[in-house]
């Protein structure tokens, strides 16, 4: 059992929790994730490790409440325990001195981008961050990102913070003017696709962190398979980061919809019972 020691609401339906997990905290590197199961009848879902704290032996995860499992997780309070957490999974990001790098983050992806940019900054890269969200209160982790960036640009769909528009608008302007050595894009699949399409034209190596549906996270189910450069790759063991210019995003977007009907049903039943009868009991 894994105890929650900190909980915050970062934005509407976006929560941060810090969980005691000594083995994972010791090992976690930027780009890696965990798989957790909230309670006995729960499903296994992957979430990125946004931060680790060796002193408190804990890891931080930031998640958006989109369906039953994330909403259930969002209901837990400090002191509650999560049944199972396994990790760190996936390969760490390739953090080296590249020169000038851009990190593009959207939605909760910003939290996942943060440890990568932090690592890149520590390695001596010139870090440009472009982060965006629907409106001002959805732009999470702004202060953290600001601290480790040499330049930061914020966009919102409604213009309530930073520039009105999309992260790719800013990215395009920068690519027009300057030589960039490497780009990381972490966020909704559609954002990563648009970024990759754009940077391809400018021949800038672009790394994306893919988020297919997972079960085990150790390479034993193949559910997380994606097509990269025409070959089947398992995201949990071969990724989660891949060369964005080689990823078949349309296939990934389609596969992400596999369980739409079941997810809708699970969420409806959960909301009807307000999380009571669906089984989670505090221990």
């Amino acid at each position: 059992m894994f105890e929650i020691i900190v909980k915050k609401e970062l934005a509407p339906n976006v929560k941060l929790i810090e969980v005691k997990a000594p083995l994972i905290a010791r090992k976690a590197l930027p780009g890696q994730f965990v798989i957790l199961r909230v309670y006995e009848k729960g499903e296994r879902i992957p979430l990125t490790i946004a931060e680790k704290n060796i002193e408190t032996e804990s890891i931080t995860i930031v998640f958006q409440e989109v369906g039953k499992t994330t909403k259930l997780l969002g209901k837990l309070r400090v002191g509650d325990k999560i049944s199972d957490i396994v990790g760190p999974l996936g390969n760490p990001s390739e953090i080296e001195r590249f020169g000038v790098v851009i990190g593009v983050g959207g939605g909760v992806g910003i939290a996942a981008l943060y440890p990568i940019l932090k690592g890149l900054k520590e390695k001596g890269n010139y870090v440009i961050s472009i982060i965006g969200g629907r409106s001002a209160n959805y732009v999470i982790f702004r202060e953290e990102i600001e601290k480790i960036s040499d330049e930061i640009y914020v966009t919102t769909d409604d213009g309530s913070l930073g520039r009105k528009g999309l992260v790719t608008d800013v990215l395009k302007e920068i690519l027009e003017k300057r030589k960039i050595d490497r780009i990381w894009a972490v966020g909704p699949t559609i954002m990563m696709k648009v970024v990759s399409d754009l940077t391809k034209a400018y021949h800038v190596p672009t790394i994306v962190s893919l988020n297919p549906i997972m079960v085990d996270g150790t390479g034993m189910c193949g559910g997380c398979r994606v097509t990269v450069g025409g070959k089947i790759r398992f995201t949990c063991v071969d990724g989660p980061e891949f060369d964005g210019h080689l990823v078949d995003f349309d296939e990934l977007l389609t596969r992400l919809k596999t369980y739409k009907d079941e997810e809708t049903l699970a969420l409806r039943l959960f909301e009807e019972s307000e999380g009571e009868k669906v089984g989670y009991s505090k221990s």
Binding site: L23, I24, K27, R37, K41, G42, E43, R44, K68, T69, S83, D84, I85, V86, G87, P88, L89, V215, D216, G217, T218, G219, M220, C221, G222, G223, R225, V226, T227, I232, V237, E251, T254, R255, K257, T258, Y259, E262, E263, L265, A266, L269, G279
Partner: protein, 461 residues
């Protein structure tokens, strides 16, 4: 009195009923039936049957104790060699192991050794098991990676020899394939849990949610433990690598069975893990895994389930009993066909598969006749779900992170079969991770060998 030529039949759930539930198919002998079956055993002096059992159970010995109604002693006798009898009694391919060598085969069917083993194991589970007294406790610690039959056997054996054992398991529940792969209707999970509890009762601790190679490495384990045993199985699914394989509706057997067995997707939405079942399901492969996937799909409500196999029934590696059960339940067998490509609609959903007909040629390296494609024989088969069950290979996580561990070309760990030793000092391995996909009892046999040589290394040398 003449000996009955046939095995005493085992009661089974009627077909019409069982295809709609996940309850066990074979119900197990009653005491009367067990006694009747035990009476068929000739108590052969040379006991050829024992040679067919990879863990050398004293078969005539335990059957004699059944005859004498000494069930407590019978199970003790089995447990001298086998820590998981309720499991092996159910899933061993007895027809190619112990029963294959039974003297009675000369006049008819062999003694139903597996069913008798199951009878006494279930007898013990129903009344609560005895925990063997561990006489000496030694100051040695062994880490076991993976909690499948190989790992559980090593752990159980070493614990009984007084060594402190910790098991590290990647999943949230121990048992390996017994928990995530073999379905409830063949091996109820309460049986596996009880067998795991027995191993724990010997003083073995199990840490779940630890992926060795990610959460901790073999080298780190070696700092804390005197020896390490790797029993991580062959869990990585292979795909066909044909066009369309990532369409919605195509599962690896591992994913399908893990969702259903480990995650209990058959109870969705009570349990949260979803599963999608098609109307017409094609299962590609001919082994135990394919049979399990097919029968599971049927129980989840598929209208038609087809086995698509590229050789003939004769070459099918599945346990004989499973093929019979599958056929009784209405699984349709299509032989000598091989997939060429999957076909999807504009929503990315699987709607068909192109198959090519095959013919059998000369035997290949496995001794089975090789399938040869027939030119121009391709045809389209409509289906909306496919399960790929064409085999699995060891997971690369440990080999990737343990550079001085020698690995064979096919990804298995290189070991000395007599001792279970790997190329790395104080590291042993066995089960599917070393042999490639095999059987529960072979994994246990390998575990026994490794336990012996670990004991020798730590205590005797």
């Amino acid at each position: 009195m003449a000996i009955a030529k046939a095995k005493t039949p085992i009661p089974e759930q009627p077909v019409e009923q069982r295809v709609r539930n996940f309850d066990e198919v074979a119900l197990g002998y009653t005491e009367e039936q067990a006694l009747m079956e035990a009476s068929r055993c000739l108590q052969c002096k040379d006991a050829p049957c024992v040679r067919g059992c990879p863990v050398n159970i004293d078969i005539p010995g335990f059957i004699r104790l059944i005859k004498e109604k000494k069930y407590d002693e019978a199970i003790k006798k089995i447990k001298e060699n086998n820590n998981l009898p309720a499991t092996t009694g159910r899933v061993c391919p007895q027809e190619t192991q112990c029963e294959a060598l039974c003297t009675l085969k000369k006049i008819g069917e062999p003694v139903a050794i597996g069913r008798l083993e199951r009878f006494v194991a279930d007898y013990e589970l129903s009344k609560g098991y005895d925990i063997p007294l561990i006489k000496v406790r030694r100051d040695k610690r062994v880490a076991v990676v993976g909690s499948g039959p190989a790992g559980l056997t090593v752990a159980g054996d070493l614990a009984r020899m007084g060594i402190k054992v910790s098991i590290f398991e990647a999943f949230h529940e121990p048992g390996g394939v017994l928990i995530y792969g073999i379905p409830e209707f063949r091996l109820p999970k309460r049986i596996v849990r009880a067998e795991v509890e027995y191993i724990k009762s010997l003083g073995v601790e199990i840490f779940t949610n630890v992926v060795v190679g990610r959460s901790i490495t073999i080298d780190e384990l070696l700092k804390e433990y005197d020896a390490v045993f790797i029993g991580t199985g062959a869990g990585a699914p292979q795909f066909l690598n044909i066009p369309g394989e990532n369409l919605i509706g195509i599962y690896s057997a591992n994913e399908f069975l893990t969702r259903v067995n480990l995650m209990k997707a058959y109870k969705f939405p009570e349990y949260d893990t979803p599963i999608k079942i098609g109307n017409i399901v094609g299962v590609i492969g001919g082994g135990n895994v394919a049979m399990d996937a097919a029968r599971t799909a049927l129980r989840l409500g598929a209208k038609e389930v087809h086995i698509l196999y590229r050789r003939t029934e004769e070459e099918m590696p599945a346990r004989y009993e499973e093929i019979i059960h599958a056929r009784e339940e209405g699984i349709i067998f299509n032989f000598l066909v091989s997939p060429v490509r999957f076909i999807g609609d504009d929503k990315g959903q699987l709607i068909g598969i192109e198959l090519q007909r095959m013919t059998l040629g000369e035997p290949d390296s496995s001794g089975r006749r090789r399938p040869i494609p027939i030119e121009g024989s391709n045809f389209i088969f409509s289906l909306d779900m496919a399960i790929v069950a064409i085999g699995t290979v060891p997971n690369p996580l440990i080999s990737m992170t343990t550079p001085d561990l020698s690995i064979n070309k096919n990804g298995t760990i290189l070991i000395d079969k007599e001792t279970g030793k790997t190329s790395k000092d104080r590291v042993f391995a066995g089960g599917d991770v070393a042999s490639g996909s095999a059987t529960v009892i072979n994994a246990m046999g390998a575990g026994k060998i490794a336990a012996k040589s670990i004991f020798k290394l730590l205590v005797e040398e």
